[in-house]
Every structure is written in structure tokens, then in C-alpha cells.
């Protein structure tokens, strides 16, 4: 169902909706008609996501959040609102988030639908991190939010707090009654400081998730290099004379695969090790692999230590939030 209103109709409706506190019945009726079209397209998108194996929930913006947004952003037009209808998917981690995002993008592009990618991980909005895909189906934009568990936990905590401390905290504003005290066990802090602590939570989550993803990818690299070493050593063991000979075509493929994988990884690799190409002897190739393995392992140890540090900080802040008592409530 295409949108049953022109851009101009929508914008005029938006202006009327915020012109007074009471919305007249005719405008409510028109809004219901417009939102019904958004709902239908949203439901279709959710079904398509389900067919892609993705479990999504969705909502059409409430009249209050819709009018709040029109009032908050001066000059903002209803026809430009991209999150009037939105679907949400929560996945375990950053790696799955990237896979799911790509899957959705590929699907909608293959259907000829415009698809805009907004990476709020690279560009967080007041601490909010997620990936948003805005797909345009039948001319109606649907915002698909893809969040990791950690990104979602942060967003839910802030939303819930915003219910009591004012929705402005979602947009970088002070909480209501900003000096009211929040008790953390023996010590207290102001609401304003508590909100700042939430920003720290977001800033800690971001590198933690990134480093966790890097650990998984480095572990795969290390495991591949280890397998290469085992295979090359077994070739050398069967025929030690091969050690000083140039590598075979089959092992050359090994070398190329190894070089590609290491080039894609974040690990520092001396590409000169591979520069000899077909002139490389089996002994040199084994040595190159052993060096690469040592480097990847060393980098992994550092990464794991960084992850542990971030996890410690994250748990500390979460524990603090779990123990907090809002004295101003």
C-alpha cells in the first residue's frame, strides 16, 4: 500500500498536530489513515525479515513521541521522519550484527528498494549505539534497528531512566531535578553524574565489543596458521629433502591463502616474509608461518588482556547501576 498522502499533505498535517495541545478529530483521522499505511508496510517488512530467519518486533511511533519529535527539532517536517515505523532485532554480538545487517541490505537491494545504512556505532548519538537500516518499501521508510545485546541493554536502561528523569536525557539534556541524589551503597552522586556514568558505560561497551570481535577473528587466524604449520611439518617429515627446495604449486596456494588471511587480519605482519613467492623454500615457508603464529599469538594475548580490562570496567558500572537507589524518586 503506497502512502495515502503527498509530502505536502504530510507536512501540513505535522504542522497542525503541533499547533495546539488538542488535536482535532479530522487530523487524528488523517493521522490514523497515514499510520495504518506505515503499519501495513512495517508488517510486510517484519514478515520478510522472518523469512530471512530474523526475529523482529516493531512499532509505529506513538502520537506523543511523534509530536514531541516534531516540536523538539525546529523546522523538522513529518514527511522527513524516517523512524515513524521501526522494526528491532537484537543479536548476540558485533560479528552477528555485521552479518545480519549485510543480509538485510543485500535482500532489500536485490528487491530494488533503497536502503540507507546509519552506523551509530561509528557515530553514537548521546551514547546510543546500534546499526539502523532505513529501507524504503512502496515509498514508505521503515527503520530497521539492529542492536547487540549490550547496545540494547544500554538503550533500555537509558529509556527506562528517561521515563522517570525526563526524556531529555536521551538527547544529551540534563535530567529533571539534576542535583537530586542517587545512592550507590555508602556514597551518593547527583542524577547528572549518574547520567554521565551511563555515557562511560557506552564508551566502555564500544571498544569491548570491537575487541571481542577481534579476538574471535584472531583466534581463527591463529588456528589456520597452526594448521598450516602442522601440514607443512608433516610434508617435511615425510621427505626432508623438500626443505631446501622451492615449494610446490599446492603449497604455493597455502602461502597465498596465508598471506591473504594475514593481510585481512589486524595483526602486524611483515609482508616481506611472503614476497619471495614461488622462490620460497619449504623451510622458509615453515619459518614464515611460525613467525606469523608467534605474532598473532602475541597480539591475541594483548587483545585478551584489553578485553578483560574493559569487562572489569563494564561490570563495575553495571553493578553500580544495579545497586543504585534514586533518592529523588
Amino acid at each position: 500500500m503506497p502512502l495515502p498522502a503527498t509530502k505536502g499533505d504530510l507536512n501540513r498535517l505535522g504542522h497542525r498536530l503541533i499547533a495546539s495541545d488538542r488535536i482535532v478529530p479530522a487530523d487524528l483521522e488523517q493521522l490514523a489513515f497515514v499510520l495504518s499505511a506505515y503499519q501495513q508496510v512495517l508488517d510486510r517488512v517484519k514478515t520478510q525479515l522472518r523469512d530471512l530467519g530474523l526475529s523482529a518486533t516493531g512499532r509505529v511511533k506513538t502520537t506523543k513521541t511523534l509530536t514531541d519529535k516534531l516540536r523538539r527539532i525546529h523546522g523538522f517536517e513529518l514527511s522527513r521522519m524516517q523512524d515513524l515505523a521501526g522494526a528491532r532485532i537484537v543479536v548476540s554480538d558485533l560479528r552477528i550484527q555485521n552479518e545480519v545487517t549485510e543480509k538485510i541490505r543485500e535482500f532489500y537491494e536485490s528487491q530494488g528498494c533503497a536502503c540507507r545504512f546509519v552506523d551509530r556505532r561509528a557515530d553514537p548519538r548521546f551514547g546510543y549505539r546500534a546499526v539502523h537500516l532505513i529501507v524504503r518499501v512502496d515509498g514508505i521508510p521503515i527503520e530497521i534497528q539492529v542492536r547487540t545485546e549490550l547496545q540494547d541493554a544500554w538503550a533500555q536502561i537509558v529509556e527506562r531512566l528517561a521515563d522517570r528523569w525526563g526524556r531529555g536525557i536521551r538527547y544529551g539534556e540534563d535530567p529533571e531535578d539534576p542535583e537530586a541524589q542517587v545512592r550507590y551503597g555508602a556514597r551518593t552522586a547527583s542524577r547528572r553524574e549518574a547520567v554521565e556514568r551511563l555515557m562511560e558505560l557506552s564508551e566502555t561497551s564500544a571498544p569491548l565489543e570491537q575487541n571481542r570481535a577481534s579476538v574471535v577473528s584472531s583466534e581463527k587466524t591463529a588456528s589456520f596458521v597452526e594448521e598450516c604449520i602442522a601440514e607443512l611439518q608433516s610434508v617435511a617429515q615425510r621427505d626432508p629433502e623438500l626443505l631446501d627446495q622451492k615449494i610446490s604449486v599446492r603449497l604455493m596456494e597455502h602461502l597465498n591463502a596465508l598471506r591473504d588471511i594475514l593481510a585481512d587480519s589486524d595483526e602486524p605482519v611483515d609482508q616481506a616474509l611472503f614476497a619471495a613467492g614461488a622462490e620460497t623454500t619449504l623451510a622458509q615457508l615453515i619459518r614464515a608461518c611460525e613467525l606469523a603464529f608467534a605474532r598473532v599469538s602475541e597480539a591475541l594475548t594483548t587483545l585478551r588482556k584489553t578485553v578483560e580490562d574493559h569487562e572489569g570496567r563494564l561490570r563495575g558500572i553495571l553493578q553500580e547501576i544495579a545497586n543504585a537507589r534514586d533518592e529523588g524518586a
Binding site: 487524528l28 503499519q39 517484519k46 526475529s55 518486533t57 506523543k64 541493554a153 536502561i157 527506562r160 543504585a324
Partner: protein, 83 residues
């Protein structure tokens, strides 16, 4: 796909009413009725959420179901199981 009308009290942090509608148009009509009913109560949020099940909503919209302490504890619990 079900459509859940949820009426939520933000200050109290409680769902005060919810009802499931298999038909999205009916859910939307019920939403507008409820918005009219609660129009003088700014802390009441009226929303229609679409999901496969109520359980799916608990996962993606947990702020309607848990307070800040419970949300933080749930995140800690998940962290404890993250390898």
C-alpha cells in the same frame, strides 16, 4: 504476527493494560481510543507493538518489563555467560 496494545505508566514503570489483536487495523483503532482516553495523562504511553509473541517483546522492549536495577542485573548475568 500479533499486535499488542500496551498501555504503560512511565512514572510507575508498569504496564497497566495490554491486549492482543491479530488484526493490525483493530489494534491501531484501539490505540487511538486509548490515546484519547489518556490524553490528559502525559505519563501514560499508549503503543502498539508487533511481534511473534509476548516473549519476543520482553526481549526487544525490556524497559516495559524490567526496572533499571533488573535491566542492569540482566546485562550482568549475560556478561557472566559471555566467553
Amino acid at each position: 504476527m500479533q499486535h499488542y496494545l500496551v498501555i504503560y505508566d512511565r512514572r510507575r514503570g508498569q504496564i497497566i493494560k495490554h491486549r492482543v489483536y491479530p488484526n493490525p487495523k483493530r489494534a491501531l483503532a484501539a490505540r487511538f481510543d486509548a490515546e484519547r482516553e489518556f490524553r490528559d495523562e502525559p505519563d501514560i504511553e499508549v503503543v502498539v507493538l508487533g511481534a511473534e509473541s509476548w516473549e519476543s517483546l520482553r526481549r526487544t522492549h525490556s524497559r516495559y518489563f524490567k526496572d533499571v536495577r533488573e535491566l542492569a542485573e540482566a546485562a550482568l548475568e549475560r556478561e557472566a555467560h559471555t566467553v
